[in-house]
């Protein structure tokens, strides 16, 4: 089933970590397997990035043979390769014993950096961006938020996902949101199923893109990011996706300064929208939006085939 949520503060910032935790926790019943957050703050300067990566799956970190040494070795390999690429580590933070957040100064090719780091066995980059920090792990929203200290994350906009695993495993790799490798700051959450996934994926692979998972949601992220990279604006790319991506879906996509929503032509997957002058909230269920508003608000369902994009 899965639940998705998005929020954007137009012209301001707030504690989006706490808000998104509250929204996703209210939809825990839609999927308790894993929870993910894509949180956006004011962008760093052009040459500075935040890279979130993991060196093991949570389950592996708890029970793998000689795993502590292996994780240390994997992290050391990441550090070494960053140094080889002239990426300077400004700040390094261990979010958990298997997940890290690095602030980098880097002026090279982002695709080369991402590919070189992920070439290390069992290392996966969760996100790279000037504004984006992507966190995902097993458990409900409160558990993940507490584990990664997201309750004091100040930012402009966010998307999130509570997952009920159906067609892929219960692990961090298969959790949402998906970062659109190798494009900085693009992330996606999705509720639904794409039925022409493999055809679309092969087309993107022929164009040089790699996929980290077999999850159809990752395809949306790469599809849109590729279109943006080709010069298309976000709204136009999303509008085109309605025709080209087959299946039933509602998805949210975020860039460094935008939040977008798209619904398939059958309107088969839910989405409730609240919009005011300075805030927009979207979720699979209204109860999520209401979890951050104590007072009565007016909400509505966007229609079939509808695409909307909001600016920070």
């Amino acid at each position: 089933m899965c639940g998705i949520a998005g929020l954007i503060h137009r012209g301001g910032t707030d504690n989006i970590g706490k808000e998104m935790t509250s929204m996703l926790q209210a939809m825990k019943h839609r999927g308790p397997d894993s929870t993910g957050f894509a949180l956006y703050s004011k962008p760093l300067s052009k040459k500075r990035y935040v890279m979130r990566f993991k060196v093991a799956e949570g389950a592996e970190a708890r029970s793998g043979f000689a795993i502590q040494e292996q994780m240390e070795a994997r992290k050391a390999a990441v550090d070494k390769r960053l140094q080889e690429l002239d990426a300077e580590i400004i700040k390094a933070k261990a979010a958990t014993e298997y997940a890290y957040s690095y602030e980098l100064k880097f002026d090279g090719d982002l695709r080369e950096l991402a590919s070189y780091i992920e070439d290390i066995d069992d290392v996966e980059i969760l996100s790279v961006g000037h504004a984006l920090e992507l966190v995902k792990d097993l458990g409900d929203a409160t558990a993940v938020s507490d584990q990664y200290g997201l309750n004091k994350f100040n930012g402009t906009h966010a998307i999130g996902h509570t997952r009920m695993a159906t067609e892929s495993d219960v692990d961090i790799r298969s959790a949402h949101p998906y970062w659109a490798y190798p494009f900085s700051d693009v992330s996606v959450v999705h509720n639904g199923q794409l039925t022409n996934y493999w055809g679309q994926r092969r087309e993107l692979e022929r164009r040089g893109h790699r996929f980290m998972s077999d999850c159809d949601s990752e395809l949306i992220a790469v599809y849109i990011a590729d279109a943006i990279n080709e010069g298309e604006d976000l709204h136009a790319a999303m509008q085109r996706s309605i025709d080209q991506l087959d299946g039933v879906f509602t998805y949210l996509i975020a860039t460094s300064d935008q939040l977008g929503m798209a619904k398939d032509v059958m309107s088969a997957k839910p989405m409730v929208l609240y919009e005011s002058d300075d805030f927009v909230g979207l979720a699979s269920e209204e109860v999520a939006i209401r979890s951050i508003f104590p007072h009565e608000i007016d909400t509505f369902d966007p229609y079939e085939g509808e695409v909307r994009v909001w600016q920070t």
Partner: protein, 280 residues
Amino acid sequence: MANVSEHASHDMGMHTEQLEGRTQQVFFSATEEENLSQPFTYDVDFGREAEFDAREMASGEVNSKIKDLMKDGYGSITVRNPGAKHSVAVGILNRLNLVLDGSLGYFGCGLIDGPNIRITGRVGWSCAENMMAGTVVVEKNAGSTFGAAIRGGDLVCKGSVGARTGIDQKGGTIIVGGDTGAFSGFMMQRGRMIVLGNAGKNLGDSMYDGTIYIGGSIEDLGVDAVVAEMTPLDCEWLGRKLSLFGLEAPDGIENMTKIVSGKQLWNYDNLEPSEKKLIL
């Protein structure tokens, strides 16, 4: 409780003789009250009023509280802060004046048979699904599958609704003050649907029967849905019905578009009435 004599029970087609099946014997006495009453229904007094706050309650607790109040004879109940919870006010099978002061989540007011319900906020997907009788009035917007498979009563949304409104509608009246999404009236079988605003694509797709009235534009009609002539009877009925809820057609009732089944898709006319009944 009705006092029904044995003679009356025979007139009503009921019998008191023992059935002679090997595995089952059914005994019926017209004097036994429980045989003539609906289970889970309550005699309530509309003059007795109660109110409670649902903010900290789970959906099941809200429904239990409503049931307990009905059991105690309260006929006018107000629920504050329903907070978009799911499946609130479902399965109410007797007359009741119920005000839900706020918004509901999914499946609100489903399977009801008789209450008058007013929701001051919005409702999520599948509001009043399988409603059999009574009135539900939503003051703001509604999600998709509004009034799915309703069989009777009046279901009103004063704002706009999502897709597939009245899918599989089997009776009753659905009224939408604003717009409705795609596939509204899909496989409609009986009843009437009134939309004062615009309708999305595939309106009335594969409808068997029933009537849809649209006040605004129609993106396109579904398979076997056709435009029919508005008659004075239609206009009179629409005027009467809309006035009950304080609603008006923006361009006048006489300018509304009437949609019915073309009856080309389903070949009912070759069927015997008993066969039709089996299908429906």
